[in-house]
């Protein structure tokens, strides 16, 4: 299952549509790291609303994506972690350290805009 990546202005939005295999997650990582340069994006939003399992592999990969995107000069925000998923991640001991999160797509976009307005000053 490929994750569609949309370009919206300075940002890229990756919306996860269904459960992802390990390989899908790695493809998403490679694709985002590449496109952020090609499209000169300043921010990336990964919408995980449709994900109901965020296990150690998914968490590790999302964290890696955020760190790689930062090395490419852009910021990543993970949006849409469901309450059940958040509960399970905490029980499992999974952390998204150093990764920005927001409630949903709208909040994520607003967050990126604030980041870039303050950078321009």
């Amino acid at each position: 299952m490929l994750v569609p990546i949309l370009k919206q202005g300075d940002y890229l939005i990756a919306s996860v549509q269904s459960e992802l295999s390990d390989e899908d997650l790695l493809k998403l990582r490679d694709e985002l790291v590449k496109r952020v340069g090609e499209l000169r994006s300043r921010g990336v939003i990964i919408d995980v609303t449709a994900l109901y399992v965020m296990d150690s592999f998914a968490t590790r990969t999302l964290r890696a994506i955020a760190h790689m995107i930062r090395l490419r000069g852009a910021e990543t925000i993970i949006v849409g972690i469901q309450p059940e998923v958040a509960f399970t991640m905490v029980q499992l001991g999974l952390k998204l350290e150093g990764v920005m999160t927001a409630l949903d797509l709208e909040e994520g976009l607003a967050y990126l805009q604030t980041l870039h307005t303050s950078k321009r000053r």
């Binding site: 459960e19 992802l20 295999s21 390990d22 390989e23 109901y52 399992v53 965020m54 296990d55 150690s56 592999f57 968490t59 590790r60 469901q82 309450p83 059940e84 998923v85 509960f87 399970t88 029980q91 499992l92 001991g93 999974l94």
Partner: protein, 133 residues
């Protein structure tokens, strides 16, 4: 046992199948939406352990009754290399496979009962249960 679901684990794609089937079975029993995510995630962790360390194995899941309570039992079996030191493997952050080392200890925290038996050279069996509250 009635309603036994078996999923053969041979590739990372089977991890997704196993957790979907486990969630469906648990949903039949009436677990809450949070517990369904918890159970599916625990299955995901033990299924990945099979793919990572043993390459092939099987996960079987069924509904169990014990007195007045009912629950789900999930067993993951493989004939892989086995775990030399289970106590170490059950420690947070310990991994020989380059992961976060949260698979087994994490799955244990998610479930009500958790047991690992393993013999070096002949394989590993993980049995875990979650009771309906």
């Amino acid at each position: 046992m009635a309603d036994e679901v078996r999923v053969s684990i041979n590739s990372e794609y089977d991890i997704v199948t196993a957790r979907l089937k486990g969630r469906d079975l648990a949903a039949k029993l009436g677990f809450s939406s949070t517990e369904l995510v918890v159970i599916a995630t625990a299955i995901s962790e033990i299924a990945r352990n099979i793919v990572q360390y043993a390459k092939h194995g099987e996960i079987s899941m069924s509904i169990i009754q014990q007195g007045s309570r009912s629950g789900i039992i999930i067993t993951a079996r493989d004939k892989g290399p086995g775990i030399p030191n289970i106590n170490l493997a059950m420690q947070d952050g310990y991994s020989t496979g380059g992961g976060l080392g949260l698979g087994l200890p994490g799955a244990k925290r998610l479930m009500d009962e958790f047991e690992v038996t393993s013999k070096v050279g002949s394989g590993t069996t993980v049995t875990m249960k979650k009771w309906l509250r």
